[in-house]
Amino acid sequence: MRLLRWLLVPIVVLPLAWLLLSGFGRDPREVASPLIGGPAPAWTLTTLDGETLSSADFAGRPYVVNFWASWCGPCVDEHPVLTGTRAELGDDLAMVGVLYQDATADADAFLTRYGDTGYSHVTDPDGRLAIDYGVTGPPETFFVDAAGIVRDRQFGPLTRALMEERLASIGVTP
């Protein structure tokens, strides 16, 4: 009975240590997306070339929505992954880029510098689509299946491995 008081030490220390430890390996800025499992937001926006593109154009096909900006460092890192995926899969996978708080001229300069991705990019002048998708900062990429349901989301830059993993959720294998 006297020794019961020693339990105080693990009772205090262990939960605290466990909690603080659990934070490692996790990005504290990552916000869980409530869109997963639900219908992807609908939109009609203008591309960098001045044409109109809408989410209805992707009906019946799986597609990827990538939010990016020319001022975003990690976007440079994931650019080759996106371009490579597009090159590999071609029309098997629809992809669209959405400009996040950026100017058309800067976006064009980015694409000229780092290479064209092979798919269209739309501007989001009011930030409405970013709000609808609950984007907290670029890069964020959403994976929508053929039924129009959001199946997965990548917070932060994509790598080859992450791209394959996320694509699997919408039934696309590279």
Binding site: V31, A32, S33, P34, L35, Q101, D126, G127, R128, A130, I131, D132, Y133, G134, V135, T136, G137
Partner: protein, 149 residues
């Protein structure tokens, strides 16, 4: 004097409660937008509210709140609109009532525990000098005054 003081205090507290309650309802659309904006978190800031932040995203959200309030949405509908998109994270104050209760429960528990500890056993006798009785106090006053003369 004391009764007046106590009465005044109660009156003030009553006025305070009335003020607090009257602040809550009957707000103008601008006030509602401001209040809602203060509840929502700016998506690309560190903990600032949409009301305090001047980033593009914050301004876009404020515009949307404005539109929704103008078109007759209720406060709950506005909140639901944004939590459907960002999750509960967009609310600066957690929605779960438990989160609000826990700290107050902890304080209450602490106060009760202290009260119980104070009341349970009488103090160790003879540790401190016994405090002056009123009679002794009066005598001390008188003698101190007398020394002034």
């Amino acid at each position: 004097m004391r009764a007046a003081g106590l009465g005044g205090l109660i009156a003030l507290i009553a006025i305070g409660v009335v003020l607090a309650v009257s602040e809550a309802d009957g707000a103008t659309p601008a006030e509602r937008t401001g209040a809602l904006a203060a509840e929502l978190r700016c998506p690309d800031c560190q903990g600032l509210s949409v009301a305090d932040s001047q980033t593009t995203a914050a301004r876009a959200i404020r515009r949307q709140i404005d539109e929704m309030v103008a078109s007759g949405a209720s406060d709950d509908e506005v909140r639901a609109h944004f939590t459907a998109r960002y999750g509960d994270w967009i609310l600066l104050a957690p929605s779960s009532p438990l989160v609000w209760l826990i700290p107050f429960a902890a304080v209450l528990a602490g106060l009760l525990a202290l009260a119980a500890w104070l009341v349970r056993h009488p103090a160790r006798p003879g540790v401190a000098p016994a405090p002056l009785t009123d009679e002794q106090r009066r005598r001390l006053h008188e003698e101190a005054e007398a020394l002034d003369a």
